[in-house]
């Protein structure tokens, strides 16, 4: 069924919206509905959408019969958080806002059905506008390898060219004025390949022959081997038990094997917050009531701080107790981690201010927009709340004894513990008004009438707002509460201040009229008017206390981030959350630390609002941009002047301006020099954009990690996308390169697997070039002695089996198994990770070093073989060395040298390495024997060459160790000197542990 713009659709409970819709009506009388936008922003909470009253009657199919309306709205765009439009119905024009917009890929919840009209379909929907085409990813090392191959190809062409020129000259001279020079080649009667009369053509053809001959320089098998190695590496990543998430039964899963080594080079991590750093569940941990702080729970931040204070010895101990430590503190009730026997089990009645405590929890149970979901079988109540915070409040109230059990259009019922009788009684509060939360108001209120008929305004909100609105007689506990709030904030908790006010009947009536009037106005400023009205009544409040909720971090997140920071990785958090929340989380997961200077670039200031109001749109945006630029410049000055570590916090709107073409360079310059960057309120597109900019600007490897569909763009844009295969659907995982179960596994993924893979691949590639250059150059040198005619010194079969049989397997084993230091030490010394970030193991210096080593080796092999075997008899019975014997000897030397070079360069000998390295050499002898035993028509020059000529000759055996020692001595000496005097970090660690007691570290 094809949907078209203007179609009216009915969507039922738990269905996804098929397109972007404008909500017309719902199964509720009040035309509201709840949607879950997990796929868009990763948030699991329910969002409330409300249709216009004007269309609310359209709640059955037949109602649409005579319905006509015209919607005018903005063009399709990627902004999920704004929508402008209006609806003409029956001659009236109503404004449409985000409140009426249902986005494709979000889900209808808790509502039986809705009717909506399609406004954007297919590619025009906001979700699709936010998506980015998946790019193909290749690792930096691979790209560098390509360059290397081009370079080698250039060398190859140069070699072939030189050879063919020399050959051409020699060939031309063979026949001059009818006189043959090298008559034994019969230059007078020859083929085009050797024709002296047409030497240029012969030389050109020779050029191509040489290209083929020296093509051994270019390790074609490298690509195949690297692919094999990477697949095996991925298998090992997938199988790592340390990255197996038991609760979710989720092992790590490398979905592409392309990027293993890139994991070892990550410079910047861009992380989503909700569901990635946090579990996306809020726990009620503490509260301050009537100036007394309740709740003994220890938060992550406190733990992290405590850990930092203790010595490293104690830290190790705590690492060991890691799992125990966390299972212990897991709350029994989701959302409630409050421990204080003064309050729980009804004991709060004995506290000095029990009346305040009563009001406090009653407020928590009433002042919210959650919906109870009573389980018929056992009578337990669960809540569907707009945000996990709110759910935590309701749950907390329930646990303490104020069970919110029913919500109707006009009332709220609570099962409450009666302090006097000690029994449960059901109280019904008449719900008169809900003044909803908005980010500008930062508070929400309800007005109720209790059973005694008192009119009460219950209000909860951010401390910054609430303390201003307290009545002079309501500030009794202010001082203590403020103190506690600071404490809570330092402990990384989200705080909320609770207050109430008794209303006069007349006052309420007046308010009600004004408020309703404001609400019903149909002007753009309607919301502001309503706010202004609400402000008149939300004042003179009496403070009750404050709550503290912990957005529970995933296990091990602070430790992991700390490790990653110590490994020198910059961490950016890109989140759709509010700034306050983001900052809190930043503290909780030790992204932001005390003593760090914070730079906050914010668009939600009064100044901004004023600007937006006073000017028209384009002027306003100009002014805003100028303002942002000014803030960035100021921050840059600060950066230049201070040497403390800085963190940058920027919100979504400011980010929009900061990412404008002319500002973005300033912004990125600032952002890159900060050790932590937090972008709040960012859209999926912005996340992807930031990721791309960071990638392009720093030219370093970026890793994005996220779990929701809103992170897809970011994951695809980053060099590596890591998906958390949490409980939030599969979109992120499907578009990621590597999926892990929990954020904390990132540590092992990067520091251990990343480091290893980087090291393995870079060493393997270097080694491949080494072995092929060493081999290829012997061919070239030999050409110089064969007048570049293209004759190979080795048997053809040996030539083609070089890569396949004798040398590739050790390289593959290196690529799969080599470890410079064991995993434990990789984690213990995160500094080691910088090797990958700075790319020291695959720098051009190192590559050139390997290439020179290869050329040196081939010179050794060639010169020692020809000088040692030269033209004298090479054994007692007087025979001399022919082409095949020299070939066999040189080949033996090559096989030994490259395999021993391998043995020298790896640090980790399992039986597999032994098998492959020594096996490769043994295989060569076996091959020589077997091949030599075949009929001469097959084996040609290799016929019995080993058994008859080489094996019984001492010279054959004596040349070998000499070649070996000489060829490997420079590398050995270089490594030894480096190890002693300029050790690289992994060598330092190796030495430290090699010299100390070994058993301690197994």
């Amino acid at each position: 069924m094809d949907l078209r713009v203007g179609d009216v659709v009915k969507v039922e409970k738990d269905e996804f919206f098929p397109a972007d819709l404008v909500l017309l009506s719902s199964s509720y009388e009040d035309p509201i509905c709840y949607v879950e936008t997990t796929n868009l922003d990763g948030e699991t909470n329910l969002k409330l959408k409300q249709a216009l009253q004007a269309t609310s009657y359209l709640n059955e199919d037949s109602a649409f019969k005579d319905f006509r309306g015209i919607i005018r709205c903005e063009d399709p765009n990627a902004n999920l958080y704004s929508f402008v439009g209006n609806l003409d119905v029956a001659g009236q024009r109503y404004p449409l806002t985000l409140n009426q917009l249902l986005l494709r890929d979000s889900k209808l919840k808790n509502t039986d059905y809705i009717y909506g009209v399609v406004i954007f379909t297919g590619h025009d929907t906001k979700v699709v506008q936010n998506s980015v085409t998946p790019p193909s990813k290749r690792s930096k090392i691979e790209k560098q390898t390509d360059k290397l191959v081009y370079l080698l190809f250039a060398v190859l062409v140069l070699m072939s060219f030189t050879g063919s020129v020399v050959f051409g000259i020699a060939t031309r001279e063979d026949l001059q004025h009818g006189r043959m020079k090298r008559w034994y080649l019969r230059p007078d009667e020859t083929t085009i390949y050797y024709n002296p009369k047409r030497a240029p053509i012969a030389a050109t053809l020779q050029f191509f022959t040489a290209l083929l001959l020296y093509s051994y320089l270019i390790p074609i098998s490298l690509y195949v081997s690297v692919e094999i190695v990477k697949v095996l590496q991925s298998c090992l990543i997938n199988k790592d038990l340390h990255m197996y998430y038991e609760e979710g039964d989720k092992p790590a899963h490398a979905r592409t094997s392309n990027l293993n080594e890139e994991l070892g080079q990550v410079d910047t991590i861009l992380s989503d917050k909700t569901g990635t750093l946090t579990c996306n569940s809020m726990d009620f941990v503490k509260c301050s009531i009537a100036g007394t702080s309740y709740g003994y729970g220890v938060t992550e931040v406190e733990r992290a701080l405590a850990r930092k204070k203790t010595s490293s010895l104690a830290q190790e101990k705590s690492d060991e107790d890691f799992h125990e430590f966390y299972t212990e503190t897991n709350p029994l009730v989701k959302g409630f981690n409050f421990k204080d026997e003064r309050i729980t089990n009804g004991r709060w009645v004995n506290e000095p201010y029990s009346d305040v405590i009563l009001k406090f929890f009653r407020l928590l149970a009433i002042c919210h927009t959650a919906i109870p979901d009573v389980n018929e079988e056992n009578g337990t109540v669960t809540y569907e709340a707009e945000s996990p915070d709110e759910a935590a409040f309701v749950v907390a109230a329930r646990e303490v004894g104020f069970e919110f059990c029913e919500r109707s259009q006009a009332s709220i019922s609570i099962n409450e513990l009666d302090p006097i009788t000690g029994k449960k009684v059901k109280r019904i509060f008449e719900l008169l008004k809900v003044i909803e939360f908005s980010s500008s108001r930062k508070r929400m209120s309800v007005i109720i009438r209790d059973e005694e008929g008192n009119l009460l305004l219950l209000c909860k909100g951010a401390d910054s707002i609430m303390f201003q609105r307290l009545a002079s007689n309501g500030r009794e506990f202010e001082e203590h509460t403020r103190l506690h709030i600071n404490e809570y904030a330092n402990a990384g908790l989200r705080t909320m201040v609770l207050a109430y006010r008794q209303l006069e009947e007349g006052e309420y009536q007046r308010f009600n009229e004004e408020f309703t009037e404001a609400k019903n106005m149909i002007i753009a400023d309607q919301e502001k008017l309503a706010e202004a009205v609400a402000e008149t009544i939300e004042k003179d409040l009496i403070l009750l206390g404050a709550t503290a909720v912990e957005d529970k971090l995933q296990i091990g997140v602070p430790e992991c981030i700390d490790k990653l920071a110590r490994a020198g990785i910059k961490i950016w958090v890109l989140t759709g959350d509010k700034m306050e929340t983001a900052i809190n989380i930043g503290f909780a997961c030790s992204l932001l630390r005390q003593g760090m200077k914070h730079i906050i670039i914010n668009s939600e200031t009064a100044e901004f609002d004023a600007l937006e109001k006073s000017l028209n749109e384009s002027e306003a945006s100009e002014a805003l941009k100028a303002n942002i630029l000014h803030q960035i410049e100021k921050a840059n000055d600060l950066l230049a002047s201070s040497n403390e570590s800085l963190s940058l916090i920027i919100d979504g709107k400011a980010l929009t301006y900061a990412l404008d073409i002319d500002v973005k360079d300033f912004f990125l310059e600032l952002a890159i020099s900060c050790s932590t960057v937090i972008c709040c309120r960012s859209t999926p597109k912005q996340k992807a954009l930031v990721t791309r900019l960071v990638k392009l600007k720093t030219r370093k490897t970026t890793l994005a990690i996220g779990d929701g569909a809103n992170d897809v763009g970011m994951l695809q844009e980053a060099d590596i996308g890591v998906g958390i295969s949490g409980f939030e659907g599969m979109q992120a995982v499907m578009s990621s390169d590597i999926a892990i179960g929990q954020f904390r596994y990132l540590e092992r993924l990067l520091l251990v697997h990343g480091h290893w893979c980087y090291r393995r691949i870079s060493l393997m590639i270097c080694y491949f070039f080494y072995k092929n250059i060493a081999f290829g150059f012997t061919l070239f040198f030999y050409q110089a002695y064969a007048s570049f005619s293209g004759q190979t010194v080795y048997n053809e079969w040996c030539l083609s089996l070089y890569n396949v049989l004798f040398t590739s397997l050790p390289a593959i084993a290196l690529g799969v198994f080599d470890q410079d230091i064991p995993a434990r030490l990789c984690l213990k010394f995160p500094v080691l990770y910088q090797q990958g970030v700075q790319n020291v193991l695959f720098s051009w210096f190192r590559i050139i070093g390997w290439a020179s080593n290869a050329i040196f080796s081939s010179i050794c092999i060639f010169l020692i073989c020809i000088l040692g075997l030269e033209d004298q008899a090479f054994r007692r019975s007087g025979e001399v060395v022919g082409l095949e014997i020299l070939g066999a000897t040189m080949y033996t030397c090559v096989v030994w040298v490259v395999n021993c070079q391998m043995a020298l360069s790896i640090n980790y000998f399992t039986y597999i390495q032994h098998l492959f390295i020594w096996g490769g050499i043994a295989l060569w002898y076996i091959f020589l024997l077997a091949f030599g035993a075949m009929d001469p028509s097959i084996s040609t020059t290799a016929f019995m060459v080993f058994i008859e000529a080489c094996a019984p000759s001492p010279s054959f055996w004596l040349v070998l160790p000499l070649v070996l020692f000489v060829a490997l001595l420079p590398y050995f000496t270089y490594t030894a000197i480096q190890m002693h005097f300029f050790p690289m970090s992994h060598q330092m660690i190796q030495l430290m542990y090699a010299q100390s007691d070994d058993t301690e570290f197994v």
């Binding site: 038990l241 040692g868 019975s877 001399v880 022919g882 000499l962 005097f981």
Partner: protein
Amino acid sequence: MEGDGESVSSSASTALVAADVDARSILVLRGGRSKAMYQFTQQSLPACKPVLTPTSVISTLFLMGIFCIPIGLLSLHASLSVVEIVERYDSECVPHQFRLNKVAYIKDSLIPKNCSRYLKVPKYMKAPIYIYYQLDNYYQNHRRYVKSRSDKQLRYGLQYNDTSSCIPEESNDGLPIVPCGLISWSLFNDTYSFFRGTDELRINRKNIAWKSDRDHKFGKHVFPFNFQNGTLIGGAMLDPNVPLSDQEDLIVWMRTAALPSFRKLYGKIEEDLEANDVISIYFLNNYNTYSFGGRKKLVLSTASWLGGRNNFLGMAYIAIGSCLIVLALVFILLHVKNPRIIIT
């Protein structure tokens, strides 16, 4: 395999909670195969991890040095024990009037090519004394040259007619040439005879080729045919009545040399030569090396266990051995003077 994987992952749960060691011990109980599998997948296979500690570096260098020097001394001794006489004769054997145009001399079949030289044996030479001819600047390893032969024809003779690789020496007057190709066509044809005083020294020209060549590569029933009958004569003629497997000079020649300067075994003198013996050598200087500026030398040499005279191996071993030991000493010195600082 499937089952294995499961057992590993199911025990994984325990492994996660408990320390790593415990998990390992649990798996040990499950038998060797799964243990090996566990170690494999967890990348904790038992391994030796050689580290270049000062001690290991110094001792390795020393050991290698100590290994090299005796070998070097032995090889050098062997090489020095060989008595070798090298006599270049390509220019000396050209009569004075042809010195300016040697090519004309060699090409003129009317000019007699014989020539004689005297050699004084510098030291006692024990039989067998190998006679080599040495050619310089002769590219037997030229691709065209190396390929210009037919192994099958050499082995099976005329029955085998695909001799395209031998062009242009594959047929003459419509008849195939056996052995075909440039290599056999350009067979070396100088001859030597040796006299001590008036006694001719017998030269044994048998058993100078590799046995495998004689037995397997050159047919016992293949006889030269239509060989050197063309207008352009290259090198030596072959006796059409002797099978190829017995034509050892041909077999030797056809094992192409690796380098442009090479020796080939000509024969053996099977009696000892005393020091100061004067040997007169009669050459037939037939082979044309003049047109490409090649040199011809006659070499008489004894052989040690290591073969002919070549000091290179011995010297190189001694050099590298001393190098290693010096390096070891330098390392000791550096290490004592400048102990490594461990940065923790």
